[in-house]
Structures are given as structure tokens and as C-alpha cells.
Amino acid sequence: MSAEVAEPVVVKDLCVSYGERAILRGVDFKVKKGEIYVLMGPSGCGKTTVLRCLVGLLRPSSGTVTVLGRELSSLDEDQLDSFRPQVGMLFQFGALLNSMSVGDNVALPLRERTGLDPATVHAIVKLKLSMVGLEGTHRRMPAELSGGMRKRAGLARAMVLDPQVYFFDEPTSGLDPVTAAEFDQLVLTLKRALGMTAVVVTHDLDSAFRIADRMGVLINGRLVAEGTPEEIRSVKEGRIHSFVNRTPRAGQDDRDVWARFFVYA
């Protein structure tokens, strides 16, 4: 366990580009301990890329990512492997290993990273599964679960080593509104219970405003606004306003061009 850090996630001037294409053009933000920070933005704005940098799956082209006081780009693969149990990541579709039962999936980090005896592992797995509302599913295979259940099982797996920071990739996408709201409730409950620090990436506005302590709006690889949900809601700047209030982008509709080809007779 590393020492307590007041700001578990610090991102400085993060740039990522694939060849010519710049995905992130200088992103800066900090997340305080015990805070849920929601990173939102339209599809293709680079949200998931930020997340991949935060867990070291992707190395930034420039800039630094510091998680729990460790600068990720200074770590080699082995050091990353031993660092990662301190963070938990929930993937968009849960990313459970299909070849194993739900219980084995949740138990996997315990079996691989700790020397706990099988009885304790079993007890912890049952505990974590019931925390996410999946009691009694440990024998089922991932393919037998619904999308929402898979995400919750993914969350149980992410929680199993009691990480200090959580990363959520689109936790509510593809869920119906009720299940999504339940998932948000679960996140808030866990936050109260565990004091969890989390970075959540989403384009689901309802969910974002429900769970966020602070939020950032990412558009076109740049963080264009940051603040509490109330602050973000009151932003008047065009793009942010239209994203937060779901209005279509301007310039999409110019019928005048048509007029030249019609004779309205």
C-alpha cells in the first residue's frame, strides 16, 4: 500500500496522437481523494483514451499521468503490473473472462495477486458479489448474464483487491434508464461506504449529473470546462451549452441551398 495521497489522480498536459491524428491535445485535471470526477463529452472526443492512459494501457505521446503519486510513464511493464492492483477498472462491457465462471472471474485477482487461502477467497468473492447485488451468481458463466449484470460483476472484480482509485468506462451505456439509475445508486452507495475515489468516463448526461462531485467536459481532445455539476450546467459557452443541454450542433441545417434548385410554382 502506498502512502495516502491527497490527489490520487493528477494529469498534466496529456497529449496522445496516433500518427498524424491528435486524439488528446493537452488535457489537465486533478482528482481529490474521495471524489467522483466525471469526464464527459461527445462520442469520439478522447474520453476512453484518457482512461487508457490512467491505467497505463496506453503511453502518452507527451505530458504526465500521476496516479497515487506514481508517474506512470516512468514505470516499466513489470512495475506497472505490480502497481495496478491499487487501481480498479470497470470496462465498458465488463470484460469478464468468458472462459471462467463469475465467481472465478471475481476471485482471479485474489488468487493471482494474494496468497489468501481458498476459504477466505471464497468468502471475499461472495461478499463483493453481494455488494453489487449479484448474490448467488458465482457459478454462472458470463455469457448467461445480462449486460447490466455483467457490468456489476465487472465492478465486483474491480473492487476485489480494495483499490484506492476506480476508473469506470461508460458504466451506464447500453443499460435501460432504470438499470442505469440503479447502477448510479450503487456507485453512490459504494462511495459512501468505501470513500471511493473514481474517474468516470461517460456520455450519459443523466448519470453524469447524478454521481459527479466535479466534472470535466472533453471536446475534441481538449478539456473545455471543469467544475461542479451546477457550474457546468450554468456554462453559456456554445459547444458546452449545447452538449449539456442536448441541442444539435449549429450549421447542420441549411435548406437555403436547396431553394436554388426548386421552382416553387
Binding site: V55, D81, R84, M89, L97, P109, E112, W258, R260
Partner: protein, 373 residues
């Protein structure tokens, strides 16, 4: 659909009557072309248009735009107008229409040639890296805290080895039968039926040194090599590989090493079995069909097959297992994008591993020949 052209002052009017659907466009197009060819401005009167579909609407948009103001649409019903207005305005089609067209064949060839070279170098690089990682994880790794997951290998051996027994034995026995007949027909030319007994030598040596290992390797490449690529590739698509990495588990050590180890163990075992069954097939031809007495055939076989034949075959098989496993896993980890790439990489993995197996077989055979094993 009918399109009637009439003259009104300096303009031509093309009146459309009937449905403007996919099948009707050609007729309208002809009428419009003729009218425009006259040099006059053309009014396309859409009053009589009944039903219309996307193809019809797209036709109108395309022609209106291409005529640059010489062709105008009038009397379009509100439904048609609303539909047209919902389409991107003609201005926005600029340049986009050609982007769907296929590039010229020459460009395509040049592109493909450079792409192929890049792809091959990339593959070789990944293959070598994966090989080094494998070697690391089975030699130095265990001392540095990366345990070798023999429990996972054991499960794989069942899938790769035991489940393959029926097909391997079937093919091996058929090969033995075939070789028996082929060798007999050649021997006959040299000295008649009296030489049939030597088919025991030919079948025995051919099976143990070559056919057994290579045939089994090809079967396993198609059966298990493809399965490895498809499984790992799908895991790459569903972010399962990323999930492993985030849990601090190295996918190579966790997934790939057990699979390769299982192949390295299972393939020689399968080959041993194939040797046995294949020689048995030769025996069926030799004794039951060609009438060589059993005891003679058995004695001849014992004399013909040296232990070194069997061992070289088994050594080759272990290397083939390594090649198949590495190729399969490397291709699986190369999957980017979606399900299409899983299919492409799986095909590629099978083809490449079979080619590699045959290349290495030649290398081995040459080495054994020169080293006189």
C-alpha cells in the same frame, strides 16, 4: 413511370407521371439527358410523381446538382419536397461522390505491395518478441515471481491433445493404408510380389520420420492453432486482454504460455500415437491385402524402424507445437477492430503455421541428413 417532354417558350418541360422508384430512373434519366442536350433550360415537373424511394430522390438530387442550374424542379408534392430537404443539400455532396469509387488497379497494387512488406516485417517482429517472452516466462520468469501456470496447461492438454485423438488416428491409419499400396505398387515394378515385404520398411520409416509429425502438425494447426487465434483475438475485441493487464496479469504469461506449453507437450504424444496407428495402417495393407505373413511383416518393421527415427520425429513434433502455438497466439494478439479481423487473423494463423511447419521440417531433414542421424 412516363416522362414526356414538351417545349414551352425557350424552355423544355419534362413531365413525370407515375412512381419514381429504383426501376424507373433509367427512363427519366434518358428524357432529362435528351432535353438538356437541346441546349435549353429544363423544368422537371414532378406534379404527377406518385410513390418515390431513396434511389429516386438521390437521382433527383444528383441531376439537379450536376446541371448547375439548368435543370430545375417544380410542382413537387409536399412529401417529396420534405424528403429532398431532409437530404444533405446538393452543395454538401462535393467531392464525396467519388470517395466510394475504387482506386485504380495500379495504385492498389503499389499500395498492397508496400503494405504486404510492412505487414510481414511487423508479423516477424511480433513473432520474435513473443518467442522471447515465452522463453523468458518458462526459464527466468519463474524465479522472478511469474509462476508457470501448469494447472491451466493441463486443461489445455485435454483440449489440444486428447480431444484430437480420433481425427489424428483416422488420418494416420488412412495414410498408413495409402502408403502401403503406393510402396507395394513401386516395389512390384522392381521385383514382383516378392518385394511386398519391404513395404514394411517404406511405411515404417516414412510414417515415423515424416508423415506422422507433419500430418499431425497440420491437423493441429488447423484445429488448435486456429482456436488459439480466435480465442485470444476475441478476447482482444472484448477488452478481456486489457482487463487482464489492468489486474496486473501479463496476458502472455497468463494465457499464451500455458497454451504453447500444452501444444509442446501434446503434439509429440499425438505423433507417437499417429506413428503407431499409421504403422498399423501399413500392416493392414501389407498383411491383409497384399498377403505378407504377419510375423514376417512385424520382424521387417522392427528391423526397419530405428529408435532414432522415432525420436527425430518426436523432437520435430515438439518444435512444431511451439511454432503452431506462437503463430496462433501472435496472430490473436494482433487483432484490432472487430469480428472481421478475428476471422482474417485466424485464417492467416493457420496458413502461416502450416507454412512454417513445412519450412522447419525441411531445415530439420537437412540437418539430420548432414549430421547423419
Amino acid at each position: 413511370m412516363t416522362a414526356e417532354t414538351s417545349i414551352q417558350g425557350p424552355d423544355r418541360i419534362v413531365r413525370l407521371r407515375g412512381d419514381l422508384l429504383r426501376g424507373h430512373i433509367a427512363a427519366v434519366e434518358r428524357a432529362v439527358d435528351e432535353a438538356l442536350l437541346s441546349g435549353a433550360d429544363v423544368l422537371l415537373d414532378a406534379r404527377g410523381v406518385g410513390r418515390f424511394d431513396s434511389a429516386g430522390a438521390e437521382f433527383l438530387v444528383r441531376r439537379l446538382k450536376a446541371a448547375e442550374g439548368r435543370l430545375l424542379l417544380r410542382n413537387a408534392r409536399p412529401e417529396l419536397r420534405a424528403f429532398l430537404e431532409a437530404l444533405p443539400p446538393p452543395e454538401m455532396f462535393k467531392g464525396e461522390m467519388t470517395s466510394f469509387l475504387k482506386p485504380a488497379v495500379a495504385d492498389l497494387l503499389v499500395d498492397t505491395a508496400t503494405e504486404v512488406v510492412e505487414r510481414i516485417t511487423d508479423k516477424v517482429r511480433r513473432f520474435v518478441i513473443l518467442f522471447l517472452q515465452f522463453v523468458y516466462f518458462v526459464t527466468i520468469g519463474p524465479f522472478l515471481g511469474h509462476r508457470v501456470r501448469l494447472d491451466r496447461s493441463a486443461g489445455e492438454i485435454v483440449a489440444v491433445g486428447i480431444d484430437a485423438l480420433p481425427i489424428v488416428s483416422l488420418v494416420a491409419v488412412l495414410m498408413g493404408l495409402i502408403l502401403g499400396f503406393q510402396s507395394a505398387s513401386q516395389l512390384e515394378k522392381f521385383g514382383g510380389e516378392g518385394l511386398y515385404i519391404f513395404s514394411a520398411n517404406l511405411v515404417g520409416v516414412a510414417i515415423t520420420r515424416e508423415i506422422g509429425p507433419i500430418l499431425t502438425a497440420i491437423l493441429i494447426a488447423g484445429r488448435s492453432g486456429s482456436a488459439i487465434t480466435a480465442e485470444i483475438g476475441t478476447m482482444a475485441v472484448t477488452e478481456e486482454l486489457d482487463a487482464l493487464r489492468v489486474m496486473g496479469l501479463n496476458p502472455v504469461s497468463f494465457l499464451v504460455v500455458p497454451k504453447i506449453l500444452s501444444l509442446v507437450v501434446a503434439l509429440p504424444c499425438l505423433v507417437m500415437f499417429a506413428d503407431l496407428v499409421g504403422v498399423g495402417g501399413g500392416f493392414i495393407t501389407g498383411c491383409l491385402v497384399l498377403g505378407v505373413p504377419f510375423s514376417e511383416y512385424w520382424g521387417q518393421t522392427q528391423e526397419a524402424i530405428h529408435l532414432s527415427d522415432v525420436f527425430t520425429g518426436l523432437a520435430k513434433a515438439a518444435v512444431f507445437g511451439l511454432l503452431i502455438g506462437l503463430t496462433g497466439a501472435a496472430h490473436g494478439m494482433m487483432v484490432r477492430g472487430g469480428s472481421t479481423d478475428v476471422g482474417l487473423k485466424t485464417t492467416s494463423a493457420v496458413v502461416v503455421s502450416i507454412a512454417l511447419v513445412i519450412c522447419f521440417d525441411l531445415i530439420f531433414t537437412m540437418l539430420f541428413f548432414l549430421g547423419d542421424v
